[in-house]
Symmetry: C2
Subunit: 214 residues, 2 copies
């Protein structure tokens, strides 16, 4: 199954305005992930103590279960736009990225694959999101593929009918600007039905599945 899951503000933004190297999620955009950082399971995975166990815990665990590969956009991989350069950006996540699986990065600029500690490999795909999803599906060997942002890659996958399950984690903030997921999707979501809606005090989790998909 191909899945896409994203945190989204109450006013529909998956990133705030003025995205930059300093503010990869735009101004105020880090608040989109407050619900994650408040969870004990997330904090444990990131070497931090404390945190809560809520209905969001199960949502996070389900999102991470049965994965075989990831697809993400160039912005999510990081490093800003333009050529990779001689000493190219290796992603936001340090030497041991938290994916531990093959990751397919959609970019216009070719680059040799990047192998990291812990089983994460980044493969750079220059012929579009659909090609990246096809490669990821093969690499996943029957497990799920998670499309992991940004919004433009996700929108293209939604429009191409590639997404079987759509997860929207609606957080109680207004960003007032930035990247909106649904402005160009048109009727692309008409084929989906809500299969679950649960909430914790920090987020409301909407899960949609494409009709005809388990």
């Amino acid at each position: 199954m191909i899945r896409y899951s994203t945190s989204i503000s109450l006013d529909g933004y998956t990133a705030g305005p003025d995205q930059s190297l300093e503010n990869p999620l735009g101004v105020g955009g880090m608040q989109l992930h407050d619900w994650l950082r408040s969870l004990a399971v997330w904090r444990e995975n990131h070497g931090e103590e404390g945190g809560a166990e809520t209905a969001s815990t199960d949502v996070l665990k389900a999102a991470g279960a049965n994965l075989g590969a990831y697809v993400m956009g160039r912005n999510m991989f990081g490093g800003g736009p333009g050529p990779w350069g001689d000493d190219p950006w290796n992603g936001w996540w340090g030497d041991n990225p938290p994916f531990h699986l093959p990751v397919f990065v959609v970019t216009h600029l070719p680059r040799t694959p990047l192998e990291c500690e812990g089983g994460t490999t980044f493969t750079f795909v220059t012929d579009g999101p659909e090609a990246a999803v096809a490669l990821a599906r093969d690499a996943a060997s029957g497990r799920d593929v998670m499309i992991n942002g940004g919004a433009s890659v996700a929108r293209q996958c939604l429009e191409a009918g590639l997404v079987d399950e759509l997860g929207l984690d609606v957080v109680p903030v207004l960003l007032g600007g930035g990247e909106r997921l649904f402005d160009d999707v048109g009727g692309a979501i008409d084929d989906y039905e809500l299969v679950e809606l649960v909430s914790s005090p920090a987020a409301a989790h909407f899960t949609y599945r494409r009709r005809g998909k388990g």
Copy 2:
């Protein structure tokens, strides 16, 4: 306390596109109220049988509790734009409207008050939302005032800092167009903090309160 509560689509619309007499909530807009119509308590109040009791039941009951008056916009009262005419529209709700309280309708066009069965009186206020809220507050005699749409009246009240409690009932539909609540609000909501987030299978209910308000 002055409260405003509205159903809002996942893409941020409080009404769909092409509002008209036939489609007062715009195309697809009636889906905004599916969560209400699915509740036993709502159906009972409207002479229908069946329905569910969910976390949304408590939200609906809380929204209706301790009210002393309503404020609404001309579109919510109904009848379309322009002069009232000789045989003016008396609202969407028949001879016995479901308010049973003083209702203050914000309009540019003066009209004598309308008394209905069951204790509902419509008073037409031509000097803006703030004046309507002030009149409603007096009429409410210490009980709460509910601002009841549409979005433009609500936005003006939010911008003027008049809303003490903001309830957003987020429903799992995309309308793709229409009237967006938060496009012109700017930072108006920065003064609010989330005090509750609960969900049923039909809606996620976000309740905000203005800082410093009980």
